[in-house]
Amino acid sequence: MDSMTVERLKEKAIQLRETAVTMVYKAQSGHPGGSLSAADFVTALYFKEMNVNPEDPNWAERDRFVLSKGHVAPIQYAALAHKGFVPLEMINTLREYGSPFQGHPDSKKCPGVDISTGSLGQGLSCAVGMALGGKLDEKAYRVFAVVGDGECQEGQIWEAAQSAVKYELDNLVVFIDDNGLQIDGTTEEVMPNHDLEKKFQAFGFETKRIDGHSMEEIVDTLDEVREAKNGKPKCIVCNTVKGKGVSYMENVVGWHGKAPNEEQYKLAMEELAGGLHA
C-alpha cells in the first residue's frame, strides 16, 4: 500500500485540485465546487487508505470506492490519473467522445470506477451491496462511499443506511461531504438536513464529525475506523467548504456546475499553488 505522510498527502490534495480544475477548464463544463470540497478525503483514500492496484483495477480483493455524488467525477478522475489507473494525459479528454472520463463515472469505460453513478441517492445502495458481497464471501476488503449532503435529501440514502446496519457492514465507510450547498441554494434554504451525523447515528452507524479539510483529522479518523470491527457501518461527516482552495469559488452556489474562464483559471492555479488557507 502506498502510504504517504500527512504533509505529502496535503501536497497531493493540492495536485488533485489542480488537475480537477484543469479538467473542468479544458472541458469548459463540469462540477468544480463539490470536487474541491471532497478533495482532501478523496486524496487520503486513494493515496493512503485504500488497497487498490492500478495494474489490476478489477482485482477481487481490492477496496471499493463508490462516488455516490457522481457529478464530482473530476476529483475521482484526478485521483485515478495520478494513481496510474489511466494515463495522466487523458485528463485533457474530460467529457469528450470516447473518453474514459465521462461526464459522470462510467464503470464500463473507466478503469478504477467500481460502479457507474450520477443519479443522486443511488450509490450508497450499491456500496452496501458490495460490502455485503464481501461479507458473504468472507473477504477482507472494505467499501468507501462518498455521499453529498444535498444527496441525503433522497429517500433511498436512508433505505441503504438501514440495510447497512441490518447486515452489520463494518466493512463500509461512508464519507458525507457536508458542504452545505446545492444547486438551488444552501441546503438550509432548499431542504434542511439538520444534523446528518445524528441521523446516521440514529440509524445505527458509528459516526464522527470532522473537519473535512484537515488532513490530520482525516488520517487519524481513518486509523480509528480501520480498527473498529464491531459490526457497525461507519459514517464520517465532513465539514467542508464547497470550492475549497479557490477563493472566488468558496461557498458560492454558482460554482456547483460551471467552468472557469481563462482568467479565472489562471487565478485558480495561482491560488492553489499557494496551498490551502485555514
Binding site: 450520477g118 455485503l132 458481497g133
Partner: protein, 315 residues
C-alpha cells in the same frame, strides 16, 4: 411439439414456477441470491429463504435499495434475483434499474410476480400493465414472460445462465399448464405452437392459452392459424415475426397495455418491412380495477372470442 389438452391440464400460477426453480438454482450455485423486499411469501421465495438463509437478503419495503444493493452484489460476482411485484419491480425501481443495473451492464435479474391483470382482486394499483414496455426501452435489458409453469421454470433457469439484466414477469393468478415438462425454450426465440397460412397469432404470458384455444376454433372454421409464444419481447425473435409477415395477417395478444408491449414490438418490425397487417389485443390503455381475472380480460377484449373475431375480420 406437444401441447397439452387444456381441459385436462392443471392450473398453476407462474410465480410458483419461479419459487420452485430458484430453489434448484440456489442449490447448484451458491452465488445465486434472492433479494426480497418484504413480500417473499407472496412472491414464493420462502422455500429458498428457508433452505438457503445465507443466500437470502431481505431489505424490507424498500425496492429502490433492493435494486441498487443487487447491483453492488453483482459487481462482486453474485447473481442476485430481486423479487417483488411487477408494479414495483418495473416502476418503483425503474431508474435504479436503468442507472445501476443496465447502464453498467450488471448481472442482476428482476423477478416479478403479479404481472398484468393477474392480481385481479387487488385492483388497479397492483396490476402492472406498463412494466414490460417501460423496461423494454432500457438498453441492455432482456424482457421475458413465460406462458405456463414449465416454460417459466426453463426461462428462469436460462436467465440465470446468461450475463446481464433480465426482467422476468410471472402471474399471481393460476394459468393452465400448456407445455410438457420436457419441452425446451430459448430466450429470444419464439416457440411455435402451430403452423398456419391464413393468419398468425402472436401471444405471450397468460394469454398464450387463449390464443391456443382461438387457433383451434379457427381451424374448425377452416382458417389456418400460425401460433407463436413470444415469451421474450426483448430481444424479440425477428425471424419468427418475418415469417408471420409472409402470412400477412397478424393478431397480437398480451396481458399488458397495447402501448409498448408485445403488440408494439411486433408492429415495429411490421412497419419497417412495409408489409403485413397487425391488430393488437391487450389492455386498452386503461387502468385495471378489482374484479375477477376473467372479467378484467373480458373488459379489455382479451378473450378467445375476440381473438377469433379479430382474426376473421382480417381475412
Amino acid at each position: 411439439m406437444t401441447v397439452l389438452d387444456l381441459k385436462a391440464t392443471e392450473q398453476i400460477a407462474t410465480r410458483e414456477a419461479f419459487g420452485d426453480e430458484i430453489v434448484e438454482l440456489g442449490r447448484n450455485n451458491k452465488n445465486i441470491l434472492v433479494v426480497d423486499a418484504d413480500i417473499g411469501s407472496s412472491c414464493k421465495t420462502t422455500k429458498f429463504m428457508n433452505e438457503f438463509p445465507k443466500q437470502h437478503i431481505n431489505v424490507g419495503i424498500a425496492e429502490q435499495n433492493a435494486a441498487g444493493l443487487a447491483a453492488g452484489l453483482a459487481t462482486t460476482g453474485k447473481i442476485p434475483f430481486v423479487s417483488t411485484y411487477a408494479v414495483f419491480g418495473s416502476l418503483r425501481m425503474a431508474e435504479q434499474i436503468r442507472q445501476e443495473i443496465c447502464y453498467p451492464n450488471l448481472n442482476v435479474k428482476i423477478a416479478c410476480s403479479h404481472g398484468g391483470l393477474t392480481p385481479a382482486n387487488d385492483g388497479g394499483s397492483h396490476q402492472a400493465i406498463e412494466d414490460m414496455g417501460v423496461l423494454r426501452t432500457i438498453p441492455n435489458m432482456t424482457v421475458i414472460m413465460g406462458a405456463d409453469y414449465y416454460s417459466t421454470r426453463k426461462l428462469v433457469k436460462q436467465a440465470s445462465e446468461m450475463h446481464g439484466a433480465v426482467y422476468l414477469r410471472f402471474t399471481r393468478d393460476k394459468v393452465p399448464v400448456i407445455y410438457d415438462e420436457n419441452e425446451t425454450f430459448e430466450i429470444g426465440k419464439a416457440k411455435q405452437l402451430r403452423n398456419g397460412k391464413d393468419v398468425a397469432l402472436i401471444a405471450n404470458g397468460d394469454t398464450v392459452h387463449l390464443a391456443l384455444q382461438a387457433a383451434e376454433i379457427l381451424e374448425s372454421k377452416g382458417v389456418s392459424a400460425q401460433l407463436l409464444d413470444m415469451h421474450t419481447i426483448k430481444p424479440i425473435d425477428k425471424e419468427a415475426v418475418l415469417e408471420c409477415i409472409e402470412i400477412g395477417n397478424i393478431v397480437t395478444v398480451e396481458d399488458h397495455n397495447i402501448i409498448n408491449g408485445l403488440g408494439s414490438a411486433v408492429s415495429e418490425i411490421v412497419a419497417e418491412q412495409g408489409k403485413g397487417k397487425v391488430r393488437r389485443i391487450g389492455v386498452q390503455d386503461r387502468f385495471g380495477e378489482s374484479a375477477p381475472y376473467d372479467k378484467l380480460l373480458e373488459i379489455n377484449g382479451i378473450t378467445v372470442e375476440n381473438i377469433v373475431n379479430t382474426a376473421e375480420e382480417m381475412l
